[in-house]
């Protein structure tokens, strides 16, 4: 019936972009999602009567601005930073463990991953993450791990202890904020690995000498990443508790 067709066409023209609605529904908090979407739909309906295309453009502008505002708000919220401080170090710990296991258990790496082998000789162990050979049989190498002895390294242990003790000492200062803790802590986590890169590239070592130097960087990273994450987490918690006490 022509009348039915007219109604359908009109309905399609007056519908706000569904993807924009989905995006907002995903980004906004349950507390405000109905109010914001309702307001946008209400104003969109008014604008559509004059110019439906302009109304859609307006709806997208509003969606993009609102999304950016709430994304920025989420990124700046203490709970997001606390979650990021747990999830990211945990993911990096798992990746570092997998890399060390792969480098320790993989046989004939020079034949198996010749491209990566050349890169490894320059100390760039992290480039394994961009090599297909690393991801291809990673599960098999992890399954071969039957002890944790390959993770023991005395030099790394001393460096890790020094890092943690230094951070605990710095934490006693009242001016040591969570941001300073994160900057100091994570810099100290990557510092041995950066040192290994510079040390290897500024000297001429034979292949068998390079392994232990890379090991210091990677194993120290593995030892320190989670304790540093915990120290930053504790510092953030103290700051949040302090702020809520001030408000009271």
């Amino acid at each position: 019936m022509p009348a039915d067709i007219k109604i359908t066409v009109k309905h399609e023209l007056f519908s706000p972009p569904s993807f924009a609605l989905m995006l907002l529904a995903w980004i906004l908090s349950p507390y405000l999602v109905d109010a914001i979407l309702g307001d946008l739909i209400e104003e969109f309906n008014h604008r559509s009567k004059a110019d439906s295309q302009a109304a859609k453009r307006w709806f997208w502008q509003q969606t993009i601005h609102t999304t950016l505002i709430y994304l920025k708000k989420s990124f700046n919220s203490p709970s997001f930073i606390r979650k990021l401080n747990i999830v990211l170090p945990l993911a990096l710990f798992i990746l570092a463990f997998a890399l060390i296991a792969w480098l320790s258990y993989a046989d004939n790496l020079s034949d198996y991953a010749p491209g990566f082998w050349q890169t490894l000789l320059t100390g760039q162990a992290h480039m394994a993450f961009f090599d297909g050979a690393f991801w291809a049989n990673l599960g098999d190498y992890i399954a071969q791990v039957d002890s944790v002895w390959f993770l023991l390294d005395s030099a790394s242990l001393i460096l890790a202890l020094f890092t943690i003790l230094l951070l605990i000492h710095l934490d006693k200062r009242s001016s040591f904020t969570p941001l300073k803790m994160a900057c100091w802590g994570y810099s100290l986590v990557v510092l041995p690995y950066l040192w290994s890169l510079i040390h290897i590239n500024s000297n001429h070592f034979i292949a068998t000498e390079i392994g232990p130097i890379i090991a210091i960087g990677l194993i120290t990273f593995l030892y320190t990443i989670l304790p540093v994450s915990y120290l930053v987490h504790r510092k953030l918690k103290q700051q949040i508790q302090g702020t809520s006490r001030d408000k009271k």
């Binding site: 109905d34 914001i36 307001d39 739909i41 309906n45 609102t66 709430y70």
Partner: protein
């Protein structure tokens, strides 16, 4: 309450004044339209709600849900009202601004006059 929270930002003041002008019909879309028509501030709805959320946490405004309507895709309105604490903060902000503006008004008029004499540049 921390000292920092006693002060209101410019947009916070504008939003609260819009709420007071709208009275019982103060919700996001109306606030947005009022700011656009009265002071030519075409802001995103998210900016208004982000400000209202912050003001609600500070205790400057309170909100309540209205009924859902078909025009809004079956979604309810959230109506906002300025609290007594909010009104006091607004009065404080106005008084502070009035004090600071006292001597500057004269200088501005003087400068504007000077600009007009020089052919508007």
């Amino acid at each position: 309450m921390a000292d920092k929270e006693k002060f209101l930002g410019e947009f916070e003041q504008m939003t609260m004044l819009a709420l007071m002008r709208l009275g019982s019909d103060a919700y996001g879309a109306k606030i947005r339209q009022l700011l656009d028509s009265e002071i030519s501030r075409n802001v995103a709805i998210g900016a208004i709600y982000s400000t209202l959320e912050r003001l609600e946490k500070k205790g400057m405004v309170v909100s309540k849900l209205g009924a859902a309507t078909a025009e809004r895709g079956g979604r309810a309105k959230r109506f906002f009202t300025v609290t007594a604490e909010g009104k006091a903060a607004l009065t404080r902000a106005k008084s502070a601004m009035d004090t600071l503006w006292q001597d500057i008004v004269f200088n501005n008029i003087h400068n504007i006059k000077k600009l007009n004499i020089n052919g508007g540049y």
